[in-house]
């Protein structure tokens, strides 16, 4: 399409101003999760926001729900390379979208990589931006960038109060049991995440008293399913954790790390990975290695999220599965 052609590419990086704004709009996406009768529904927030006004789309009716929460991920505060030199701006865009929701979410989950280099000033900046989120609380799990060089003391001091081990914990909200797992402190060969025996033992005990009808939401940074193990996009000992979840009727597993939306349903478990608020990464196997997406001009239109924000959303199972747009008078069945 003509409007997607690069008209000015002074830096020879494959991104013109319009393209960068589109990329920002895509990268700043969050996901709204709503619980209704024990069933989780997800909505890409880019689909709900009017790009022209920044507010909720006219005529959009949010279906009734027991409660809702938002997941954001991979903010990488401190990153300043060509893939996105303004990660702060895109995080703020995500916050604006959250604050545009007609009803504030009960809480926000950040699924890790809050910072890029685990620096105090990076965490400070993130905290400052997230202060403006209209929600009751924000909950975190660390990404590998938050515990670089094996040092998770700063992360735990800031975000891990009251947690166990390397920062794992659970809590209940509106009849749903939430479990935060940490799989980035002891990574294994190839970069795969590791939960470790201590955490697995805790998880088994944590789930034991729950009835099988309790909806369970598990969140961690690195995916708990084998998205692409060749790039370390999986967790070595996740099978053990998932075996403890098999008896539950409704299990939702939320992850970040791979900077793109993917969804998989396996029996009673729905796996979902979130987009980054910072920069995209290549699709599995589409590049020699994972990392901040380089954008050569001749491939720009084929890259994630850059051609059209709506189109990009429809490319992923999230939108297709969950009926992305709701018109006046309609609700989700």
């Amino acid at each position: 399409m003509k409007e997607d052609l690069i008209v000015s590419d002074k830096n020879d990086d494959g991104i013109d101003r319009a393209g960068f704004i589109k990329c920002m709009a895509w990268a700043g996406t969050g996901i709204l999760w709503m619980m209704n009768g024990g069933i989780m529904k997800s909505f890409g927030m880019s689909q709900m926001i009017d790009k022209a006004t920044g507010g909720l789309k006219k005529g959009l009716i949010i279906p009734p729900s027991d409660f809702s929460f938002v997941q954001i991920s991979d903010s990488h505060i401190g990153f300043n390379k060509a893939a996105n030199p303004d990660v702060l701006g895109t995080l703020q865009a995500a916050v604006s979208k959250i604050n545009s929701m007609p009803e504030a979410p009960s809480f926000v989950l950040h699924t890790g990589d809050l910072s890029h280099l685990a620096q105090a000033d990076e965490f400070d900046t993130l905290d400052q931006v997230l202060k403006s989120v209209k929600t009751e609380r924000i909950l975190y799990v660390p990404g590998e960038h938050d515990v670089l060089n094996g040092d998770n003391k700063q992360y735990l001091a800031r975000y891990g109060k009251g947690t166990l081990g390397d920062g794992w914990y659970s809590f209940d909200s509106h009849g749903v049991h939430f479990v935060a797992l940490v799989n980035v402190v002891n990574t294994s060969e190839g970069g795969l995440g590791v939960l470790g025996n201590d955490q697995l033992e805790w998880l088994e005990k944590d789930l034991k008293p729950l009835s099988s009808s309790t909806p369970v939401v598990v969140f961690a940074h690195i995916p708990l399913w084998a998205v692409y193990p060749q790039w370390g996009w999986g967790t070595r000992d996740s099978a053990q954790a998932l075996s403890y979840l098999k008896r539950f009727g409704s299990v939702t597993v939320l992850n970040g790390h791979i900077h793109q939306t993917m969804q998989k349903v396996e029996g009673n478990i729905t796996f979902h990975t979130a987009t980054s608020t910072a920069f995209p990464q290549p699709q599995p196997g589409a590049a020699p290695a994972p990392g901040p997406m380089k954008v050569p001009a001749d491939q720009l239109r084929g890259l994630l999220g850059l051609t059209s924000v709506h189109y990009q959303e429809h490319n992923h199972t999230l939108a297709i599965t969950d009926t992305p747009l709701m018109k006046a008078g309609e609700t989700i069945p």
Binding site: Q119, V185, N186, G190, V194, W231, A289, G291
Partner: protein
Amino acid sequence: MVISALSLVVIASVAAIRPEKNPASSFRNLKVLPGNISQKQLSAIMVDQFQDELGVSCNFCHSENRETHKPDYASDAKPEKQIARLMMQMTNRINKKYFNLGHAMIGDSASIVTCGTCHQGKPRPVNF
């Protein structure tokens, strides 16, 4: 002769990097990177150079402590770590000799040649 050349590179590297005003680091067994490198500088090299430009994670060079199951960053058990040291020295030397960057240091934004120049996102560079 080779040892002398490498020593020169190491000395030049130590002089070139400008540690931030952070407290002295507690990193052990640094042989090419300066001993007083800041945590931020070291992390940036590990993330931007090795992770992003080679597509590897910590375990590619760092062995695992068998007791804690965490990376043992000081250990020289994996040969890849020694190769990485030689590669850093080579890169610094190329930037200095052929691009006249007297204070070139791996991770320096002024560097012309970086790990990614040859590696192109792969642990081992493809043949030219």
